[in-house]
């Protein structure tokens, strides 16, 4: 079997497919997408709700519909892909170790690699919730897979910890499948999910949202019997005397997504502690030459449309690399998160040699109303954008024109001005 390619893409979800299509359109034919599932589409296959594609297709699609649009293009363009294939490791020399029924245990080498492995959920163990360890404690995504792909509804009386979008979506999903969702419990004083999801997943069904609360104990040795929920103070410590018992047979956890970078680490790629994803420059190239990253593996997104756009750029840049585009000269400037900004992607920028406009994506650290995003270099302003509201749960995207960057001589800072954090 063929075991070297110009471009290998790890992951056939929305990021991987968009990157492949983009590289193909740039004239790269020798591509291989490696996907561990039995079909393309990645996480979208289990996201049967809508809200996808408003930016990309100007239509509101469900996850599978969005995925199928890209999968159809992959097939139409004749881009090779292998399913049921797990990548076990990547060497710094871009040698990829794979396992599949057809290849056995094999090594594939590539001129360029695009990492598009997505992310995984934070499990109960990492949250340290004390109590028994019965069945029926699931992360929301695992429950989603069970319901939407296996046709198995794990329970009838549900408590959900975490008001991120997955938790909210599953609150509605379980309700539509006949379960009673007793509460969605959120540690923070605000929900990290989209406002529309609070309305259409909780308000529509009368499901209470308990902010500044958490699950402090799990009861039921073999079968889940119930959970204790308590209010927390400003240090997230449970407040004695506020404990409330919720009998339930299912506990869903929606407490954070972690980019899946075990493979990136195996290659020795530098990982940012702020994003848990690879550090990249404006071309989305990681610390290893010819290895690019996009999508949730780079930083966790909330809109798949942003993923597709990012992946498109990764595909273009990987194509340029394969065609022999020389490495950017000189040293990059750092892009630093300043006041109110948690992280930026990219974290470095070859300002002198930038060709087109540069996207800087970031998240804010709190809720800012009537504020401005400002980008400065050595104190002088190179970009400003006003906004009515900026929230942590919505990734921000600013586009800096190339001409503003060519004059940049030092590190760049991105920060929020005005609209005190709430």
């Amino acid at each position: 079997m063929k075991n070297n390619y110009d471009l290998v893409i790890v992951g056939g979800g929305p990021a991987g497919m968009a990157a492949a299509i983009s590289a193909k359109k740039q004239g790269i034919d020798d591509i291989l997408i490696l996907e561990r599932d039995s079909e393309l589409g990645g996480i979208l296959n289990q996201c049967i709700h809508n809200g996808f594609g408003l930016h990309t297709f100007k239509e509101e699609l469900t996850g599978p519909e969005y995925a199928e649009r890209y999968a159809d293009q992959v097939r139409e363009l004749g881009i090779p892909f292998e399913l049921g294939t797990m990548v076990l490791g990547i060497s710094p020399e871009k040698e990829i170790s794979v396992i599949s029924r057809t290849r056995g245990a094999a090594k594939i080498s590539a001129k360029a690699v695009i990492l598009a492995m997505g992310c995984r959920e934070r499990p109960r163990g990492a949250l340290g919730i004390p109590g028994y360890r019965p069945q029926s404690v699931y992360t929301a995504g695992t429950a989603q897979k069970l319901v939407n792909c296996e046709g198995v509804v794990p329970g009838k009386e549900v408590v959900i910890l975490g008001s991120g979008d997955i938790g909210l979506i599953m609150a509605r999903r379980m309700t539509l499948e006949g379960a009673k969702v007793r509460a969605v419990v959120e540690l923070m004083p605000y929900s990290s999910g989209l406002k529309r999801n609070i309305v259409q997943c909780l308000d529509d069904y009368g499901i209470p949202l308990m902010l500044s609360h958490t699950v402090i104990d799990i009861k039921g040795k073999e079968k889940l019997e119930g959970v204790y929920v308590a209010a927390v103070d400003s240090t997230n410590t449970p407040i004695a005397g506020t404990e409330e018992y919720f009998p339930c047979d299912t506990l869903l956890l929606s407490c954070g997504l972690i980019p899946e970078n075990e493979l990136s680490r195996s290659a020795g790629i530098e990982i940012s502690p702020l994003t848990n994803g690879p550090t990249v420059d404006e071309s989305l190239e990681t610390s290893i030459e010819g290895v690019f990253a996009c999508g949730n593996v780079l930083h966790v997104h909330d809109l798949v449309d942003f993923v597709s756009e990012e992946a498109l750029r990764a595909g273009e840049n990987a194509a340029a690399y394969i065609k022999g585009k020389p490495a950017s000269p000189g040293t990059p400037v750092a892009v630093k998160p300043g006041n109110g900004v948690k992280y930026t992607v990219p974290s470095k920028l070859y300002a002198q040699s930038v060709e087109g406009n540069v996207h800087i994506r970031f998240r804010v650290t709190g809720v800012f109303k009537m504020a401005s995003i400002v980008v400065t270099c050595n104190g002088s302003e190179i970009f400003r954008k006003k906004g009515r509201i900026f929230v942590p749960s919505e990734m921000q995207d600013i586009i800096i024109p190339a001409e503003k960057l060519s004059a940049v001589s030092g590190d760049i800072e991105v920060f929020v001005e005005g609209g005190a954090a709430q």
Binding site: I48, G51, E60, E65, L194, R196, V199
Partner: protein, 117 residues
Amino acid sequence: MTRELTCIGCPMGCELTVEVENGVAVSVTGNTCKIGETYAKNEISAPVRTVTTTMLSETGIPVPVKTAGQIPKGKIFEVTAAVKAVRAKLPVKMGDVLLADAAGTGVDIIASKSIKK
């Protein structure tokens, strides 16, 4: 009377301020597009929703489905019950009508994923 709503038309979730007279929205502000205006008007007098769920196929594999348009919010559970009562025949192509006129709403249930046999 003034009502504050969050638009669910797209992930932006614009905060809308709606002036209501006699149970009807007479003015909508805070929206960034037409979707918000339409949403506010409907939400006040006759709220509607798109329902996304799964319909089991004859083999037990779930087929993701959605209502082809919006249905009255009050009929959500009637629609899901109607979906539960039938089985989809594989193969299914994205867009196929799997149940016409669900629960008498005039809206079809269509497949949102193609699934082979």
